[in-house]
């Protein structure tokens, strides 16, 4: 029984911190970054959070974080609901598959994965919302939206990924301390 309670507490702490991060990222993205956007470009902070959560915690946290990040965007900024939730969820799941296979303190691999994930997100959006409507100007969209967003997102993630890594370390320290007390 005590084992069960400790397990639940452990996951609760992670869940609460992640919910908190999702809300903070959403608010930052749609208020402050929207106000200070360069030529209308906004960095995709929700994507950085989804990728990092997947990489640090695994498939399941990754896919749930992605799902809720996407759902928030859908509810506030899209005409129909579910598309972003779906794409973000798969990105979180995919990155979650790589969890535990690399050393998270080295920022190079996460940055590479953020670039790839942002491209995946952009191409999925282009394909389903633009190409299927008969809009074939992929080169223009690359130059106008996809590449600027990618560059901006990577620049911001250099600052934002360490922050998420820090919260993960903080939880871990808290957990090991709690475990030591419980022994």
């Amino acid at each position: 029984m005590t084992y069960l309670i400790r397990e639940v507490r452990k996951s609760m702490r992670r869940i609460i911190v992640t919910i908190f991060l999702v809300i903070i990222s959403f608010l930052l993205q749609c208020t402050i970054f929207y106000r200070i956007s360069f030529s209308g470009m906004v960095p995709n902070i929700m994507l950085i959070l989804t990728v990092s959560t997947g990489l640090l915690y695994g498939q399941k946290p990754g896919l749930y974080t992605g799902f809720f990040c996407g759902l928030l965007l859908d509810l506030f900024f899209f005409r129909f609901i579910g598309f972003n939730a779906l794409v973000y969820m798969y990105i979180g799941f995919g990155n979650g598959s790589l969890a535990g296979k690399f050393f998270p303190d080295d920022i190079k691999l996460p940055l590479g994965l953020i670039v790839i994930s942002d491209l995946v997100y952009s191409f999925a959006t282009y394909f389903f919302l633009y190409l299927l409507r008969g809009d074939f100007a992929i080169r223009d969209y690359m130059l106008h939206t996809i590449i600027p967003e990618m560059v901006y997102t990577v620049l911001i993630s250099v600052l934002y990924y360490p922050l998420i890594l820090f919260t993960e370390k903080w939880i871990q320290r808290y957990e090991t301390r709690g475990a030591a007390e419980n022994v």
Partner: protein
């Protein structure tokens, strides 16, 4: 392996791939429902409004404050020079004003004569602030801080200054989602004010930076439309009230079919810098019914 694995200590554990499958089905289901129906998710909107809107208001204030201070510092020198120029201009304009006032009296008299008083300046309007937006670079939706509590409804028209911004797409208790006319999926039926020719104004993501919006389907066989002509919303639009200024013709060319013309127009609203908007609380449909 079965989807539900029984772990020791009696905890049910759903494997990630099955969570993924269930949520995928859920997403596809919600998507198909929200695409096909125009459902209003009132309860979700209430919760969202309570959780996010206060923070969005605060953070937008902080963001605007920083931007405004930076811009102020940059512009002080420019403004001092401009001030001198403008003061000279004021004297000049004061003279002209008198002349125009006289013409205005004449205009009001003529308007009364023609009963042209359904000018949109007489619609009831509510002011609102933009508190969030731009969460995706692929569309142009934003959030304002007024909602159904203030009497807003879906499809109400949104203005900034004297130009059309867009219409309300969804309403929560204290927030609304606005889709702007520069959004890639937006199409507005308009007409040239001088000639009365109809055209379609459509948003285009690729033109967003350049500050133009596209128009097409203009039938102008007599070549009367010229650059600089005013474009307003037309009477045949089912969501936009007639006679609201959209913008000015900037560039015009004949289509390859030699029947219609298309080109770019400069919107009357500066979409990069809007902070406050006006919502017209008269609906096109309601207006039509009372008539």
């Amino acid at each position: 392996m079965s989807p539900i694995v029984r772990r020791k200590k009696e905890r049910f554990h759903l494997q990630p791939k099955y969570s993924l499958l269930i949520l995928t089905v859920l997403c596809v289901f919600i998507m198909s429902v929200t695409i096909t129906t125009e459902m209003e998710h009132t309860y979700i909107n209430k919760v969202l409004g309570a959780v996010f809107v206060p923070f969005q208001k605060g953070l937008t204030d902080i963001g605007s404050f920083c931007i405004n201070r930076v811009e102020e510092l940059q512009q002080i020198r420019v403004l001092l020079d401009r001030n001198e120029e403008l003061e000279a201009k004021v004297d000049d304009l004061n003279l002209k004003l008198v002349q125009y006032q006289q013409e205005r009296y004449e205009l009001t008299a003529l308007r009364e004569l023609y009963e042209l008083d359904d000018d949109y300046s007489e619609y009831k309007k509510i002011g609102a602030r933009i508190i969030g937006g731009g969460s995706s670079n692929w569309n142009n939706y934003f959030i304002i801080d007024k909602g159904s509590d203030q009497g807003l409804l879906m499809n109400m028209n949104v203005l900034a200054g004297e130009g059309l911004v867009g219409r309300i797409d969804e309403v929560g208790p204290n927030w609304s989602k606005v889709v702007s006319i520069v959004d890639d999926s937006s199409n507005v039926s308009g007409k040239i004010l001088s000639t009365g020719d109809n055209l379609i104004v459509s948003g285009n993501l690729l033109l967003l930076d350049s500050g133009y919006i596209e128009f097409s389907q203009l039938k102008d066989t007599d070549n009367l439309v010229v650059v600089g002509d005013k474009v307003v919303t037309s009477n045949i639009s089912d969501k936009y009230l007639p006679g609201i200024l959209i913008g000015y013709i900037n560039n015009i060319q004949t289509d390859s079919n030699h029947l219609t013309k298309s080109g770019y127009l400069t919107p009357a609203v500066d979409f990069e810098h809007i902070e406050e908007v006006l919502v017209i609380t008269t609906l096109k449909q309601a207006d039509f019914n009372t008539d």
